[in-house]
Symmetry: D2
Subunit: 357 residues, 4 copies
């Protein structure tokens, strides 16, 4: 239940304020060069504390590989990576120990498990996503070998939507903004909310380029289905769109169908997926994040003993989780594609015979 | 890859124009009464040919139970159900045999498998969803035992959105419309498109009532994640929202958080799920269907030999797949909840000891 | 829980005296030619009622393919096969309805499920293995494409062991005897027991030839581990050996190690598997079947109400289940190897790049 | 592929001479007290270097818990445990770097993966079993809560078999001997072989007491099938027996059937399992280990370039792997039973309703 993927799979562990986070990546093809600097650079993109648009919690997020790599190369055995928590020590959690923070998993974890690690949300903290990013980096290293590339950025903050998607620009932007003309307004709405001890939602767009045709396993491990699970499973995500997504609802079939010519599809309303299988076009995802539930205004809640209390959270939190969330979404996309890449081998007898001859 | 679920699971088989469709449902608790009339009544809701808003293909969709039920009761062994195709015989497929219908899985199946059953889309046909509905009926029978209920209907057709959600009304509506005041306009836009040999998209809303608190397995089999996969995996679905979904992006955290009182949550923006686990509130899903790709206007496409052709589809198709799709969405929701219900047993040691004492 | 395999997988359903048995085979590479006559011929080997050494129950075991095959070729979608029970009608089960037959699953099914289909053992009947043989036939068709072959036969009946293993001879033998010099004695001990209303145990030997080097997924889906599960999961099996098996316990390491030369291994004590991975040598399995628990002598047992009764079974049963069990063991071996064949694709980056270039 | 179990599951990582070994245990019911001293005590039983009957390699095998435990109690989230390798530094592997050790996985890993970590066998080393024992300790803590107990010991070394099974005595014996009257002879044959730079095989017997009736999921996750996989997957195991195992082959049905009385079964030839489900009697396993392949006599082998060489291994190895292997077998048995215990919840509707009422 803490694992994802069927052939290229990973298992994460760790809590926000425990000793360490980690991930075990299984199914990595042997012989793949494991570039540790690249893994660290991916983690650095998600790392907290880089600007005023993010939580002030400082974490080095330094990754250490414990297994599965020998002389810089994957051996085909599980690659375990650990990230020690360095900034979790001295907090006082007495104010959240016995109450359920609105919008958080406190209430549901307590009822499901009868116990919860209240320190910073424990396992339900978005801090766990560091482990996903480390695993995603390995997926990207694999996918590079067959030419697949990933891009992402923020296409909306609160009501301020990007008019264009400049993925190169987003790499430089401190909020990963895709549209330079909207970036300042987007920053403004974040800081305005933050100053009022509030938070805002946002949308990340992820694009996968050059995925081979044929990825996705119908009918119950479809590429779009699994991408949807991967995205919806990220903390704070409340909606997922593929291709034109919601907008396709308001089109006629004659507008929405992507007609085909010898040199390719004439449009890409489908977002690169037909019948749950990649069609060679760009795979396009929109991932909608709710506003951070951690706000510093007084809220109604109850205690573990079901007594009403008025409650004000303290601490350090992202005013807009979509920003760092976009890095996680891109990583999850890579993890899905890597799994589908390996699963697809063996789809037809010609491929099987070619492999074994 | 044709199975779904981990403990309450099902496997489907069959093609649109093969001998039969079917499903094997595994993990059904022994002793559950299996009401065959109820299963058939669920299939009848999805059955084609009931009105001018649906495909003219007539299928009895008569289900036959082959195993797993003895003297009207589940034995704990797999329940296999078969639906024979009765109206698949005489068609002439020569016009689609060698071309890829735009918006369909023809192109991707051919490239993945090197072969495709072109008769009515074969396995990729929405006809397969009859098997899901049969399985979903058993899930509902199980969930009734613990009081969980399901409701669904059409909340939007093309641009015409429901202003209110009357699930009782929807049961009577030939298009499962949730808002009687919008129903005629919604019917109108469907028939207008149909008459122009075109199609329209739509939105289904599904609500799950009385799910126990604690369903969902973090972090990679979350209730919202798996519901998203289940919905996105239905033919023609391009977006999935949970709770306020996309709208939550434009709220502030102070607006979006569901504050808590002794007698329950003060609102339900979250749609009944926090941290991937049910919180006891209504679970609310919005499922967005693209317009039916099968339209009867001339379109550009290519042949298997990659030659341009202009192509006009013939046949019988739903002008708005969302309508019958809403039945499938409700069934998939039931299948997910049934699985989560069984998986949740064993979450804490008190429950384990109570079970085995 | 009624499925086996991860990539080439199958799900069975059906009871001994229900409407039908069946199997859904998933993961079959598209383009594979599906020879229905071969499938039927495999089923005929396992079919009951062929001689006095088997149960007198007559079943045609006629297989019908419902899906997944188009124009004689696998399409990559699930292949469902059904075998209708034709000889299950008129029996009177009143004598076993309320008692637990010793050596059978009656007692455990009743306690686990609270209900049981008492007609001929229901799901726990060895009749279910017909579905495995049908699935195994498809596995064999796949494996033929890469040159893998299977052989099996009876190497021991009661205390009478084969001195040599002649797999060609076994094909002709009515008891699949591997040693023509022991066959008459083996037949004798079976008939002697049968005439006393008793039964005997036996041993099947299965050999897999020409399996590619590299099959098996360490450390928890090892080839030997999964073969052991596959064999031990067959009704009445109580022990499984690989290679020299139990005999290797009494050897010194210097005797048991298979030393290696340029042209191959100097011996095959290991039975073709090292570290859970095939090494290119013959894979050798010994599968030990207990005597049929269905005997016609009076035995002690209890009723559902836990009252002592003395009980005599009536009916038709194999006096030595190992004989027809050897066909099942060979089928299960094929199903494991097919799964491992597909899973192995993607083990190293060179193979992945070759596949996708 | 490095995970085992479906509900109570674990994933291991690490190589013999890498930084660390570890395991992530998932599905542990929240609220379970995690006794770290008990986990360490289990590891100490398997720890190398305790006597002349074991390898001279000294490892502290000190376990560190990284996650999933809060204030001494399981939280329901994954429990990650790490064991750092402390004695792996200074070795010179030049003599095995380019050759395949007979009886080891060197040959197969190299062919499957195209690369291998030659340091002490890498992942294929029995050192990985430390991770299984750590996980098994948690399984035992869970099972204690419902009264299940485990016992094990050595019932045969080379040809010297125990005449009785005294599990209390075995706890004290340096070779875990079950029969004090055979212990000296068993020690003698080990030392005799060791002095000749050779090795011997042996047999471990494991008994599971007080397992609830009803554990095991037919037909493809049977208790006996999964136990067989668990045992056969341990390094060096070549045969697995359940109950009377091989001996049952030579019995008549009238002898082998366990007849039943009001107060229980009259015998236990079946070894506590009927139809793949526990029947409440002792579950009895015999696990056959081949002689350690690491011997110090000259052997024939080949290099990676397929050239013949005569080769003498150096290093530190167990002369009889069955001894420490018995600890691993007991751990694996606990891991299987824990999984089956949780999976069984939900088998019948009465249990589901009781749980959720």
């Amino acid at each position: 239940m803490n694992s994802f993927g069927r052939k290229f799979s990973f298992t994460t562990f760790g809590e926000s304020h425990g000793k360490a986070l980690g991930v075990v990546v299984d199914g990595v093809p042997a012989g793949l060069k494991i570039d540790e600097d690249f893994i660290q650079s991916e983690l650095d993109k998600r790392k907290p504390g880089k600007s005023e648009f993010e939580t002030a919690r400082k974490e080095a997020d330094k990754v250490e590989i414990l297994s599965g790599v020998f002389e810089g190369v994957a051996t085909g055995t599980p690659i375990a990576m650990v990230i020690y928590n360095t900034n979790q020590k001295s907090r006082d959690y007495s104010n959240i120990k016995d109450v359920f923070r609105p919008g958080h998993a406190d209430f549901t974890y307590f009822h499901k498990y009868g116990i919860r690690d209240y320190r910073g949300g424990g396992r339900s903290s978005a801090r766990e996503t560091a482990a996903r990013v480390a695993a995603g980096a390995i997926a990207k290293l694999l996918l590079r070998e067959v030419g697949v590339e990933f891009m992402s950025g923020i296409s909306q903050v609160h009501t301020i939507a990007s008019q264009k998607l400049d993925f190169e620009y987003a790499k430089q932007s401190i909020i990963y903004a895709l549209d330079p003309t909207q970036e300042e307004a987007q920053k403004g709405v974040i800081l305005e909310a933050k100053n009022r001890h509030d938070s805002v939602g946002g949308v990340a767009t992820v694009v996968i380029k050059n995925a081979p045709i044929g990825l996705g396993e119908p009918l119950y491990y479809k590429l779009d289905g699994v991408l949807a699970e991967a995205m919806m499973g990220i903390n704070a995500v409340k909606a997922v769109e593929i291709g034109d997504g919601i907008a396709s609802t308001t089109l006629y079939g004659s507008q929405n169908n992507d007609q085909i010519r010898e040199d390719g599809f004439e449009s890409n309303h489908a977002g690169g997926i037909l019948g749950g299988i990649s069609n060679g076009e760009d795979i396009v995802l929109k991932v909608h994040f709710k506003p951070t539930p951690s706000i510093f205004q007084e809220q109604h809640t109850i205690t573990k003993e079901n007594e009403n209390v008025d409650f004000s959270l303290k601490g350090r939190h992202d005013p807009c989780v979509a920003i760092r969330g976009s890095v996680v979404a891109e990583s999850m996309a890579a993890l899905v594609i890597a799994d589908m890449l390996l699963l697809n081998m063996g789809s037809n007898i010609a491929g099987v015979k070619k492999y074994y001859e």
